[in-house]
Amino acid sequence: MNRFKSKISTKSAAYQENREYNLGLSKLLKERYELIKQGGTPKARQKHLDRKKLLVRDRIKLLCDKDTPFLEVMPFAAWDMYDNDAPAAGVVTGVGVIKGRECMIVANDATVKGGTYYPITVKKHVRAQEIAMQHNLPCIYLVDSGGVFLPLQDGVFPDKDHFGNIFYNQARLSAAGIPQVAVVMGSCTAGGAYVPAMSDETVMVRNQATIFIGGPPLCKAATGEIVTDEELGGADVHTKISGVSDHIAQNDEHALDITRNIVENFDKQKKFDIGREEAEEPFLAPEEIYGIVPKNIRQPFDIREVIARIVDGSRIQEFKENYGMTLITCFARIMGYPVGILGNNGVIFSESSLKGAHFIELCTSRKIPLIFLQNITGFIIGKKYEHGGIARDGAKLVHAVANAQVPKFTIIVGSSNGAGNYAMCGRGYYPNLMWMWNTGIISVMGGEQAADVLATVKIKQLEASGKTLSKEEIDLIKKPILEKYEHESSPYYASARLWDDGIIDPLNTRNALALGISMALNKPIPDQKYGIFRM
């Protein structure tokens, strides 16, 4: 494949301005992430440490092999929600390497409201299990949780994808041959007790871990029985008497060491072969992405300039270079893995839809993973295009995306609006992993358009009753809508609600994708089947 020839001038004023702005965004992301990494309040952390317990991120570090990556997912969960009481929603989730095996780690942070489950916490836990299922990742649960966050029980307990779904998933994962291991390092009460109980193997820390369906206060209230935590459900009880747990550890470090030994006896992960080659670093400097992505993200930019700075050797092979040019489709490699990339260079027309569907067919029949780089305000509109059947052609792209059986990865690099989000493999299309760049924005349509639509509706209503509105009055109607859209389209707003698996800095894209592709290959890629393409 040939090297992409960049047209970027790093000397231009626009480049410098973009770079400065985007570096600022990058700094903000790092600062916010550092804040999240702190977990609970200093007081809560100190209390935790005083009990000789390790902080959640230190536990993960000890559990994983030294000098290996940790692909954290959904770190921004609950950001700016629940009065900011729940950094990372009180549970750290991510993929790490243990004894050479990629594992999904779900670790409660007891310094955040005792590790209790907020609605977003449940969503995060369930999503982590979904990722584990999709990538054949053994699950390690580091349990240290008080169970459901009672004040918000209606958003946690009863529904289909609420708390109960966690144990359902554990059973299904285990049935699929994906090992489930619980390491109980603190309390684990009531419903939570099923996490270790439903696991294949369980470790408990002496004088620290407890498992019971009903705790001492409940016992006393219900039956009058007076019993201590340790007597009721301590590590000794469960490893010697009840058999609920299999291994006993003296402290956190010991428990993690035992867990590493448990993982050592799992089946070896075998990677599905998609013809990997030697990796090559990008030839064009990835740092230049900062100067390429515009400060005003609604301004157009050539997505190929971005692609070339992510892929091996900056080499790409474009497909239908001169047709449907608002959608770029190209083959490339990421750390040696072949990939098919779709990236937006404008709104989607009929031609771009057909081109995209064709390209996806090529990739799925060759078993090449797909990467979607979203910078899309939507499909083309207007009489001419409706008559031309844009809905029908758009449907072909959506159909191809929905049914593509290869690993799919989506990154929102710029705008993500309307049906464009769907056609470019939005969250509803089950991409294996989905990230948002800190430069991205997401909403059903742009704030301006939404405000215009709503203002027009209002004006029509008033006109019907014989009133007209001044420009000031119209602006007054539009203002709150603009503000709402501005606030809600932020990547932090999106990631807090788990519309994606995290916010990443553009420079981390290559590593994140490579790790994602590698773990997707823990499962074979099935042969492709499609439904009916509307012609």
Binding site: K30, E72, I274, R276, G336, A514, S518
Partner: protein, 502 residues
């Protein structure tokens, strides 16, 4: 007896000192700046302490910081290495005032020898031959003219406080003298804050020959023979050898005894180096004393079999010299090449970066004193010495040949080095003949020639062959994927949001 030593230095010399200490059963503490947190010396020492930010003034030159680190870690001595604080008599005194042993001479002789003018006067009085010239600096142009006419041209103007060639001027004719003196004064003023300059006889095509001397605290002084360090670029030695190609038994004895006399005159103890210039007629002139371990000390070790760092520690511990002059013997020939991170094709500009690949030459008689490892970062803040390649063989020609092979075997990728340039020096017929004068490089080596281009061509051919081979395996439909490590194994520690690798 010394039990724990703080090594107030970095890079190869810090590693060198730590290794000798290990052999002596002495614990070591390394100090490092924030730029050196992963440097080799911090890994070799028993303990290491960060003493400040990257700029040397705030770290390696921070006297209080270094002494505090020594106190905090329970050291009983400080070894200053070379450069940085090694010849700073204030530091020397402060170390002793803090109740620690300074591994080096007493502050008084160090201060005396630190001043070129003072030491010159002292040595003239003691009858040591020095380059004819003015006894002290002057501002009277008439005095310059008078002295110059007496000595005969060419003459050399030097700055009293000088070093590194700043403020130096060679003057060939009386008419040029006045302007040269004035510009030398200006340059000296701006470089050293003092406009004191003086005049010396200019020795044409001299050799730089120095004598290694050791003195204990009981008045015993011996010399461990000479080192010739004439191959210099920008007044910095790059290739050193011993014995000197011009040396004979008579001259060696005469110079050695003079060196001992210099040391006794200055009331100097511990290891030191007495530097001389030798002219075409084998007349020699005292230049100065280096009151520290020298960069080029290994060639003396190779030819005498004595570990000079150990000797320094023994003397500082108050032990007597374990040998007398008659016990010392010089065997065979040793050469050292200093491998700098610098670009000989671009006027020896320092080159910083990461050592991407390192292959260290190995064979009998080859020694590699280095402060680097594959993956190490070379910071921009310090002297760019990466390593010293030292060889020993029975004769000069065998040693030269061994060095050439070793240089070619020594591969360092990621930063530019002087390896290719030094190989060209060693291959030069004037070097083979032993015509090594301090202007060797200016006379014989073309600066700006692409010394590494031959290697580049070979590398390109190699890369092309490799690429071709790789394609073959793909064409044969043999997948390489299964043998390749996944990104999970190759990326190393990495954090999703920050990309941090720490």
């Amino acid at each position: 007896m010394i039990k724990k030593i703080l090594v107030a230095n970095r890079s190869e010399i810090a590693c060198r000192i730590i290794r000798s200490c290990k052999e002596m059963g002495i614990k070591t503490v390394a100090v490092y700046s924030e730029a050196d947190s992963k440097a080799l010396h911090t890994q070799l020492a028993d303990e290491s302490i960060c003493i400040g930010p990257p700029p040397a003034l705030q770290s390696y030159l921070n006297m209080e910081g270094v002494i505090k680190a020594a106190k905090d870690t329970g050291c009983d001595a400080i070894h200053p290495g070379y450069g940085f604080l090694a010849e700073n008599s204030d530091f020397n005194k402060k170390v002793r005032d803090a109740g620690l042993i300074f591994i080096g001479p007493e502050p008084e002789p160090m201060k005396l020898l630190g001043s070129k003018v003072m030491s010159r006067v002292t040595m003239i009085d003691a009858g040591i031959p020095v380059i004819p010239g003015m006894k002290s600096s002057s501002k009277d142009i008439n005095e310059f003219e008078k002295t110059a006419n007496e000595m005969g041209f060419p003459v050399l103007i030097k700055a009293s406080a000088g070093g590194g060639g700043k403020g130096m001027r060679v003057v060939k004719k009386i008419e040029e003298l006045k302007t040269a003196v004035e510009s030398a004064m200006r340059e000296s003023q701006s470089a050293f804050g003092s406009d004191e300059v003086y005049l010396e006889k200019y020795i044409e095509s001299p050799r730089h020959v120095e004598f290694q001397v050791a003195a204990d605290n009981f008045g015993n002084v011996v010399y461990l023979f000479e080192r010739e360090c004439s191959i210099q670029r920008r007044h910095q030695k790059i290739i050193e050898e011993t014995p000197s190609p011009i040396m004979d038994a008579e001259l060696q004895k005469k110079m050695g005894e003079t060196a001992v006399k210099v040391i006794k005159t200055a009331n100097y103890n511990n290891l030191g180096t007495v530097e001389f210039l030798v002219d075409k007629d084998k007349n020699f002139y005292f230049l100065e004393v280096n009151a520290r371990i020298q960069v080029e000390h290994p060639i003396t070790e190779m030819t005498t079999g004595i570990d000079l760092v150990k000797l320094q520690v023994q003397i500082a511990s108050g032990e007597k010299l374990p040998f007398k002059q008659k016990d010392l013997k010089q065997t065979g020939h040793a050469i050292e090449c200093r491998i700098y991170a610098e670009d000989p094709d671009n006027n020896f500009m320092p080159s910083s970066g990461k050592i991407l690949f390192l292959k260290v030459p190995m064979s009998p008689g080859v020694r590699y004193d280095s402060g680097i490892y594959q993956g190490a970062e070379i910071p921009v803040f310090y002297d760019p010495v990466l390593a010293k390649l030292i060889v020993w063989a029975p004769t000069r020609e065998e040693a030269r040949n061994k060095m050439l092979i070793a240089l070619k075997e020594n591969v360092i990728l990621g930063v530019k080095t002087s390896i290719g340039f030094m190989a060209k020096c060693l291959e030069h017929e004037e070097f083979i003949k032993g015509n090594t004068f301090t202007d060797f490089i200016a006379q014989n080596m073309k600066i700006g020639t692409e010394y590494n281009s031959g290697i580049l061509n070979k590398a390109l051919i190699g890369a092309a062959l490799f690429d071709n081979q790789k394609k073959k395996t793909t064409n044969n439909n043999v997948s390489v994927s299964s043998e390749m490590s996944s990104p999970w194994q190759t990326i190393g520690y990495w954090e999703i949001c920050t990309g941090s690798t720490k």
